[in-house]
C-alpha cells in the first residue's frame, strides 16, 4: 500500500528513527542548543563535545519528534564526529540543499551517509523535520542557545 513512500521512509530511516544510536544527552559537552518547530511541536536539543584539536569528538541529542527528525538527528550526530566546525557548516549547507531539492553536491562519505534523507524534498511539509537538528547544531556551534526551523 505504501510502496511509493519507501523513498521517504527508507529502511535506514525507519531503523535510526526507531533506535537512534546517539539519542541521549552527553555526560560532558561544551556546546548545546535547542531547536524548535513551532508549527508541529517537534523539539530537539543537540549536545557537542570538542577534542583538544577543536574537532567534534562526539555529538548527541534528545528529541521529541517524528521518524524523519529523529533519524536525521541520529545520522547527523554520526557524520559530524571527527569534523571541524567549519567542515560541519559546509556539510550542513549541502544537506539543507539536498533536503530541499533532492540533489547534493559531492560524493564524499558524509553526504552519502545522509543521502537516504534526500527523499524528503518531495514532501514540502516534512523538509523542516529533516533540517531542524542541523539548525540546532549550527546554533550550538555559533554559541546561540536556540534555533527555530522557521
Amino acid at each position: 500500500m505504501f510502496d511509493d513512500l519507501r523513498d521517504l521512509y527508507q529502511e535506514v530511516i525507519l531503523d535510526h528513527g526507531r533506535r537512534p544510536r546517539h539519542g541521549s544527552r552527553l555526560a560532558a559537552y561544551d556546546a548545546s542548543a535547542k531547536g524548535d518547530n513551532p508549527m508541529c511541536g517537534d523539539r530537539v536539543q543537540v549536545f557537542v563535545r570538542h577534542d583538544e584539536g577543536g574537532r567534534i569528538a562526539e555529538a548527541g541529542f534528545e528529541a521529541r519528534g517524528c521518524a524523519i527528525s529523529v533519524a536525521s538527528a541520529d545520522l547527523m550526530a554520526e557524520t559530524v564526529a571527527g569534523r571541524t566546525d567549519d567542515e560541519v557548516r559546509e556539510l550542513a549547507g549541502r544537506f539543507r540543499d539536498m533536503a530541499r531539492t533532492g540533489e547534493a553536491a559531492g560524493e564524499d562519505a558524509a553526504i552519502e551517509r545522509l543521502r537516504p534523507l534526500a527523499g524528503v524534498h518531495e514532501y514540502p511539509s516534512r523538509v523542516k523535520c529533516a533540517t531542524l537538528p542541523w539548525h540546532a547544531l549550527l546554533a550550538a556551534l555559533d554559541g546561540k542557545g536556540e534555533a527555530s526551523s522557521e
Binding site: 500500500m1 505504501f2 511509493d4 513512500l5 521517504l8 521512509y9 525507519l14 526507531r18 508549527m39 508541529c40 511541536g41 517537534d42 523539539r43 521529541r64 519528534g65 517524528c66 521518524a67 524523519i68 514532501y123 516534512r126 523535520c129
Partner: protein, 414 residues
C-alpha cells in the same frame, strides 16, 4: 421553515454533490477529507453567492448613495439578521462581525477586559482551550493585572465541574471563558451549567463556539451566555469572517476595539464620538463578500437542519470510535459522554506526523500536531496526536478507509 421538525435523515450523496472539491482525486486516490475541524469545505451555494455579489452588485457598504452600495449594504446587514436568527439573539445589534473567533476573543479581552474588568479580578478558562482562548487572556493578565485561572480537565477529557466551581468561590472571577466543544477531544462542555455557576458567583461567561456551532443548534438565550464567538470558515463559510455575539448592554458598556472609519459618529481634531452598537466595533471596510458567503453558509446548514446534522455526526463518531479502538496500538484521547465529530488519537511506535504523511499518500487528509492546544497535550502526556474530524459530507466509508489504512500504517512502523 421549521427546521427542528425535519427527520434526522441525510441524503449524503446529494449533500456531497453540493461540494465540488469532494470529487477531487489526490495522487490518483479519491480525496477523503477528515480535517473539517481545521476548516470545512465550501458548498456551491456559498461559492455562488460570493461570485454573484462580486459580478452583479459589489460596492462598499454604509457609504454610497448609489444602487450598488445600497444592495450590498442590504446583503451585508442581511447576514447580521441571519446570524441573529441562527443564535436566537434578542437583538440584531448584538451581532458584531470580526475576522474570526480569535479576533472576537481579542475584542472581548481588550474592550471588556481592560475597561469592565478591574485589576485584581480574574479570568477563568479551562485546560482544554485552543490557544485562541488562552493567549489573549495571558496578554490581558500581563498588561492589566488580571489573574488567569485554569479549570482542570478529567482523565476522560471532560471539564472538572467541581474544580471549576472551586475556582469561582472567592468571587474574584469576572469572566469565565470556555470552549463549547474541544477541537482536540471533541468534548462538548455543559454550557448551561457553566453559565449558571458563573452567574451565581458574579462572573460573566464567554463561550468559544468555533467547533460547537458546526454540530449543534446554539441558543444564546437558552444558554444564558454573555458572549458567544464563532468563525465562518468552520461552518462551511468563507475565511475572514467571524462573529462576536454579546448582550447589548455589555456592548454598550465596552469601548471600541479598533479605531477608524465606519465606527465613528463624528470626528473633529479634538475628539471623536462612536457609532452605535454594533458599528462601533466594526472599524474599516469589513469583509463584505465573506459576510455574504457566511449568510449562504447559514442557509445551507439550516436547509439541512441541525437535528439531521447532529444525528449524522453522532453515528459517524460512534463508528469511528468503534473502528479505531479495535486497532491494536491506537489510543483515542478522551472519552467524554457528550461529544462531537472530532477524534484525536495516537498510534504506538509511530509519530503523528508520520501517520499523517502515510494517510495523505492514500488521499486521506487528517491533521497532526498539537492542534493549537499545547497545554492540553501536556495534560494527556503526549506531544502530538493525529486528528480525524467530520463534517456533514463525511461518510461511513471514509471512516472505514481511515481505519483500514491505519491498520496498514501500524504494520509499516511495526
Amino acid at each position: 421553515m421549521n427546521v427542528t421538525t425535519r427527520p434526522a435523515l441525510l441524503d449524503i450523496a446529494a449533500i456531497r454533490d453540493e461540494f465540488p472539491i469532494l470529487r477531487q482525486t489526490i495522487r490518483g486516490k479519491q480525496l477523503v477529507y477528515l480535517d473539517s475541524a481545521a476548516s470545512a469545505q465550501k458548498p456551491r451555494a456559498v461559492i455562488a453567492a460570493m461570485v454573484q455579489a462580486m459580478e452583479s452588485q459589489y460596492a462598499n457598504v454604509h457609504r454610497g448613495l448609489h444602487w450598488m452600495s445600497e444592495r450590498t449594504t442590504d446583503a451585508y446587514e442581511g447576514t447580521r439578521d441571519a446570524v441573529a436568527r441562527l443564535l436566537n439573539a434578542r437583538d440584531r445589534r448584538e451581532i458584531v462581525f470580526t475576522r474570526n473567533s480569535t479576533e472576537a476573543i481579542n475584542l472581548v479581552a481588550h474592550s471588556f477586559g481592560r475597561s469592565v474588568l478591574r485589576p485584581g479580578q480574574a479570568v477563568l478558562i479551562s485546560a482544554m482551550e485552543h490557544h485562541s482562548n488562552l493567549v489573549p487572556w495571558q496578554m490581558l493578565r500581563d498588561a492589566h493585572d488580571i489573574e488567569l485561572r485554569v479549570a482542570p480537565v478529567t482523565g476522560a477529557g471532560e471539564l472538572d465541574m467541581a474544580g471549576l466551581e472551586t475556582l469561582l468561590t472567592d468571587g474574584r472571577v469576572g469572566l469565565v471563558a470556555i470552549t463549547h466543544m474541544s477541537n482536540v477531544l471533541g468534548t462538548c462542555t455543559p454550557a448551561e451549567r457553566i453559565a449558571a455557576l458563573a452567574h451565581a458567583h458574579g462572573a460573566r461567561v464567554l463561550f468559544d463556539g468555533s467547533q460547537a456551532i458546526v454540530h449543534r443548534r446554539i441558543d444564546v438565550q437558552a444558554l444564558d451566555a454573555d458572549f458567544y464567538v464563532f468563525t465562518g470558515h468552520k461552518l462551511y463559510g468563507p475565511t475572514g469572517i467571524g462573529v462576536l455575539w454579546a448582550r447589548h448592554e455589555l456592548l454598550e458598556a465596552m469601548p471600541p476595539f479598533l479605531g477608524g472609519g465606519d465606527m465613528i459618529s463624528s470626528v473633529t481634531w479634538e475628539r471623536s464620538t462612536w457609532a452605535e452598537v454594533p458599528h462601533k466595533f466594526e472599524a474599516g471596510t469589513p469583509a463584505i463578500i465573506e459576510a455574504i458567503g457566511l449568510s449562504a453558509a447559514i442557509g445551507f446548514v439550516e436547509s439541512i437542519g441541525y437535528d439531521a446534522i447532529a444525528a449524522h455526526e453522532a453515528r459517524l463518531t460512534d463508528h469511528a470510535l468503534a473502528r479505531l479502538s479495535a486497532i491494536e496500538g491506537v489510543h483515542v484521547l478522551g472519552r467524554a459522554q457528550d461529544r462531537g465529530g472530532v477524534v484525536s488519537f495516537t498510534l504506538d511506535r509511530a509519530h503523528a506526523h508520520d501517520v499523517a504523511t502515510l494517510l495523505d499518500r492514500q488521499g486521506i487528509a487528517v491533521r497532526a500536531g498539537h492542534h493549537c492546544a499545547e497545554p492540553l497535550m501536556r495534560r494527556f502526556g503526549v506531544d502530538s496526536t493525529a486528528r480525524a474530524s467530520f463534517g456533514v459530507y463525511t461518510t461511513h466509508e471514509e471512516i472505514d478507509a481511515l481505519a483500514d489504512t491505519l491498520a496498514r500504517v501500524r504494520e509499516f512502523f511495526a
